[in-house]
């Protein structure tokens, strides 16, 4: 049950990178891109939309017989997903990349929304409002499918976390942070802001698409309604802000807390059945208010960002000691 935590964390890492990159904006669009990415790949398996269900079950039985094909499709699709994510991120950000960060955010949001509408209305892409079933590349696992796939997701999440931590400790991350804190100063130091912004955005998009693709494989379904702004822009932001923007562990913490909360709410949902409205809105109401409260009272989240470590403190003291001797 709690293994879902793994997959949820993935798109959020995309956000973290973006945040440290000063392109707070990535969150808007790519999370929606995830869906797109995946659905395009699903077409590799399912040809005709109307017979989608039949085709999918046929494919599933094929895969049951030949697990290697399942695995191959899985990995191939992920690679394509990541690539397309990067490209889409690049294309959508390109016109707006020179703008101020909130202009960029709005633009990406708008583009994301519009893509969503297109998805809902243009059938060949993802089956319109109804959505598409996705071949279950893990169907050869039979009954153990659930556990295994959860494990895979957790491993994937940890893998990405590891990579991101490496990036976070690298010079690139420092540039990102400098860019975020003071663009003008960073530019004066000779850093090409636009290039770095785009980098942060593209990498973030790629991670987001990966997350989306993995999720789609997990639930075996892709439909525009399930990949809306609500779940995939607001919620990840909530998790990131709750846990702490700008550091990966904060994001993990935020994700855990959120999922735990959600489980609790679902558990007690039946207690509220007497209300004359759908309880899910109460949940969102609560979430929205929590977000506002966090932004007002503790915008840095639960785990604050640590300043980047470059050289150890002792070495610094040495250097300072020497230079002060020189000048006195």
């Amino acid at each position: 049950m709690n293994l879902q935590l793994g997959y949820a964390g993935i798109p959020n890492f995309g956000l973290v990178l973006a945040v440290t990159g000063g392109a707070y904006t990535v969150g808007w669009l790519p999370v929606r891109l995830c869906m797109w990415i995946f659905n395009i790949d699903s077409q590799l398996g399912a040809d005709i939309l109307k017979n989608n269900a039949i085709i999918v079950s046929q494919i599933n039985s094929h895969i049951q017989a030949q697990p290697l094909i399942g695995l191959a499709v899985f990995i191939l699709t992920l690679i394509v997903a990541v690539a397309i994510g990067g490209v889409l991120g690049f294309i959508s950000a390109y016109p707006a990349i020179r703008l101020r960060s909130d202009y960029l955010a709005i633009t990406l949001l708008a583009l994301g929304e519009i893509l969503s509408i297109i998805g809902q209305s243009y059938d060949p892409l993802v089956g319109g409002v109804i959505g598409v079933l996705v071949p279950d590349t893990w169907s050869w696992l039979g009954g153990n499918r659930f556990t295994v796939i959860s494990l895979v997701l957790v491993i994937a999440a940890l893998g990405i976390l590891f990579i991101l931590e490496l990036i976070a400790r690298s010079p690139i991350s420092r540039t990102f942070r400098a860019m975020r804190d003071n663009e003008v100063a960073a530019m004066a130091m000779g850093k090409d802001i636009t290039k770095y912004r785009m980098e942060a955005l593209v990498i973030g998009s790629m991670i987001c698409s990966l997350g989306g693709a993995l999720y789609a494989f997990y639930v075996c379904y892709v439909g525009p309604a399930a990949y809306g702004r609500l779940e995939w822009t607001f919620l990840p932001w909530l998790m990131v802000i709750l846990g702490g923007m700008g550091n990966n562990f904060g994001v993990m913490l935020g994700t855990f807390i959120f999922i735990a909360l959600q489980k609790l709410i679902v558990f007690y949902k039946h207690a509220f059945a007497f209300l004359p409205f759908d309880v899910v809105w109460l949940e969102y109401l609560l979430l929205g208010s929590i977000m506002i409260a966090i932004l007002i009272f503790r915008p840095s989240g639960l785990i604050k960002e640590k300043p980047s470590q470059t050289i150890p403190k002792t070495k610094l003291e040495e250097i300072v000691g020497e230079s002060s001797k020189k000048y006195s």
């Binding site: 016109p95 703008l99 209305s121």
Partner: protein, 314 residues
């Protein structure tokens, strides 16, 4: 006789202009892109729906109520959230996220309310169209006349207020130089409040008019917010009338473009309708990032007329 597509285009553009004006306005005066503007629009729609469902009558008479409701909520949003964040030194992006959260809160409340109406009173509150309550004048739907008239009246009133009244000039002063305005004795928070009030109210009015033309539902505002941002950016936030211009540009292109494209490429109406604002936005960002109102038309005309810019004499 005016072709129906043109009527559509004018109505849509006028509504877009009224609806989006507030978005640009608060951006210009307080520096915040208010995503919750979507919610403010939806609230207007639900005010009209509630009133016509319970009290009957012409939906137009309830418009002032829609204005008040949305205006009040906008002011609340400003005072409780935006000002609080500003005092704590929050960045514009943080304020942006907070408006997203507030929009969610509003959406939840609207949905709860709509559910309540539906379950308790069997009203079609999740999906309603009020076209049948509209009147016809000269063979054209009332909404066409009202939206256009409202837009023109509003623009005239705005021009007058901004240039001939004290508060209007103070508003322009605050936009031009808030610190100096403060030093001169203008209470900048009051002028900001005023701008949020007007923005919210206008959103409510536009939202109240929308169900006379398209389906009203809880996500009404949210479904249009993307286009609103397009309009705002394309029209340009700097010039105060740019948004209206943007509204007409986007509106006309969407409607006329869609019908043109479906004649040539086949009926994927919604696809075109959604793609067009995206294309316009991308073009605008690449070639006129400050909006069409800021394009140096004189320069372009000179280049066209004389084949180049005039060279200075030394």
């Amino acid at each position: 006789m005016i072709p129906p597509t043109l009527i559509d285009a004018i109505t849509y553009s006028s509504l877009l202009g009224i609806m989006t004006f507030g978005l640009s306005f608060v951006r210009r005066t307080t520096g915040v892109w208010n995503i919750a503007h979507a919610g403010l629009v939806t609230i207007g729609a639900y005010v009209i729906f509630t009133c016509t469902s319970f009290f009957g009558g012409n939906p137009y008479i309830y418009l002032p109520l829609a204005f008040i409701f949305s205006a009040v909520i906008a002011v609340l949003e400003y005072m409780l959230i935006i000002e609080t964040l500003r005092k704590r030194g929050a960045s514009t992006t943080i304020m942006l996220i907070s408006t997203l959260a507030f929009d969610l809160v509003m959406l939840s409340i609207i949905n709860i309310y709509a559910d309540y109406l539906q379950n308790t009173f069997s009203l079609p509150s999740k999906n309603f169209l009020l076209r049948k309550l509209d009147f016809m004048f000269l063979n054209m739907p009332g909404i066409f006349w009202t939206s256009l008239l409202l837009l023109i009246t509003f623009l005239t009133a705005l021009y007058y207020v901004l240039n001939y009244t004290k508060i209007g000039t103070a508003l322009r002063a605050c936009v031009s130089n808030p610190t100096l305005a403060s030093i001169s004795g203008i209470n900048v928070m009051h002028t900001n409040l005023f701008s949020w009030l007007i923005s919210g109210g206008l959103a409510g009015v536009a939202g109240g008019l929308l169900p006379l033309w398209i389906q009203g539902k809880p996500v009404l505002g949210d479904s249009l917010i993307a286009v609103m941002f397009c309009v705002s950016i394309v029209g340009g936030v700097e010039e105060i009338y740019g948004t209206v211009l943007g509204g007409f540009l986007v509106g006309f292109t969407q409607i006329l473009g869609t019908s043109a494209l479906s004649m040539v490429f086949g009926p994927s109406v919604i696809l075109y309708k959604s793609l067009i604002p995206m294309v316009i936005l991308a073009l605008a960002l690449l070639y006129a990032p400050y909006g069409i109102a800021k394009i140096n038309w004189r320069k372009i005309l000179t280049i066209i007329k004389f084949g180049g810019e005039p060279k200075r004499k030394i």
